[in-house]
């Protein structure tokens, strides 16, 4: 391959890479997760999350059930308690795909589907709501179904996942948007999972959200202690 071809390859690759034009780079939020599981247990988690898209660490400062810190970095998930590393497990590099990253990069409104191989097949308008339908590629329709997204004022308000038989398997609702430093973020997310015909819910709420927070540097770039 000659230089010209190599240059063209680089240009094509660069063009295919999504470009982030957003100015926001970090956020923190107090979160509360409440949920009910099929086994009858309920769970409650309270903490604060810190994320800086340049540092690429997702730091969860958990206060309940136990005081501990979870750090997701690269392909590892660290669990720290009382200043000591108590667990290090392999994971995937998820930092670019969290709700925080999607919001900071302006990709939350289409749930990342615009960058996927799902194809937009229908758009409907109902009052102020716009409902779009995304179909998987034909070759995969035997395994998965469509995804529907509802947007209001360019904010995603709902997502519905279907299986290949066109039956709903999960719904998510994004509510109570707040504008923080010009960035819209849902402060309440309700997830409905349908398991064996029964509906189970999980509610995540966010408070005290700060976007482009210049404090808490030690949290955004949390130093992992040695075990």
């Amino acid at each position: 391959m000659n230089i010209k071809k190599l240059l063209l390859l680089i240009v094509i690759t660069t063009c295919l890479t999504p470009v982030s034009a957003q100015e926001h780079f970090r956020m923190r939020a107090d979160y509360t997760i409440k949920g009910k599981s099929p086994d009858g247990t309920q769970h409650l988690t309270i903490g604060t999350v810190y994320y800086d898209k340049n540092i690429k660490k997702v730091v969860f400062d958990v206060r309940f059930p136990q005081k501990e810190t979870w750090v997701q970095q690269d392909t590892l998930l660290y669990k720290i308690k009382n200043g000591k590393l108590i667990r290090k497990s392999k994971s995937l590099d998820i930092s670019d795909f969290t709700i925080f990253s999607m919001a900071l990069n302006g990709k939350l409104s289409d749930y990342g589907l615009k960058d996927s191989q799902f194809v937009l097949t229908n758009v409907e308008k109902d009052g102020e709501n716009i409902i779009s339908t995304w179909e998987p590629p034909a070759a995969y329709k035997n395994f998965m179904g469509k995804v529907m997204i509802m947007k209001n004022n360019d904010n995603i308000t709902g997502v519905i996942f279907f299986n290949k038989d066109n039956i709903i398997i999960s719904r998510q609702f994004f509510r109570k948007y707040k504008m923080i430093n010009g960035m819209a973020f849902p402060t309440e997310i309700i997830i409905e999972k349908i398991i064996n015909g029964e509906k189970f819910y999980e509610i995540t709420t966010y408070e005290n959200i700060k976007v482009d927070d210049y404090q808490n540097e030690d949290k955004y770039d949390f130093k992992i202690p040695q075990s």
Binding site: K34, Q42, F64, K67, I94, F97, M148, I189
Partner: protein, 146 residues
């Protein structure tokens, strides 16, 4: 006249379609909130007292038992759903997004590996196609002389 009927019929059908799609997004919000009322109260109590699970078990075992509260924390990442889709396909179709969805929905290292494999296959196909394309086309950058 016939055309008018057809237009009216199309209009009615279109409106019915919109209504049915919109209905799919309806949620009995008040009912869901009602179901979480006890957990809400517990959350407020925990926040106000800066309590941990241990503190609660020491002072109010009944509350923990009544609500069947788990001692395991949850992490809010990408909002997930039990999609029931093979991880390999998630990785193949959605690339990195598929990998993360697989990770979140399964928490299963075998499934994660399948999703990564799917992602690698997708990337390999794109790169191979590009290389074949570039090798089969002679590029001539002939700029006009001034």
């Amino acid at each position: 006249m016939k055309k008018t009927y057809i237009i009216i019929a199309l209009f009615v059908v279109a409106n019915l379609t919109i209504a049915s799609s919109s209905d799919l997004f309806k949620l009995n919000y008040n009912q869901v909130k009602q179901d979480f009322k006890q957990l809400d109260q517990l959350a407020e109590k925990v926040k106000a007292g800066n309590l941990t699970y241990e503190d609660l078990t020491a002072t109010d075992t009944g509350l923990i038992n009544n609500l069947a509260i788990s001692s395991a924390p949850s992490i809010p990442l990408l909002p997930d759903g039990a999609l029931g889709i093979p991880s390999f396909l998630w990785g193949c179709i959605l690339g990195p997004l598929g990998v993360i969805i697989s990770y979140i929905t399964t928490h299963d290292s075998k499934e994660e590996k399948k999703a990564i494999l799917g992602c690698i296959v997708e990337t390999a196909v794109i790169v191979t196609t590009l290389i074949i394309f570039l090798n089969n086309f002679e590029l001539n950058f002939n700029f006009p002389s001034p």
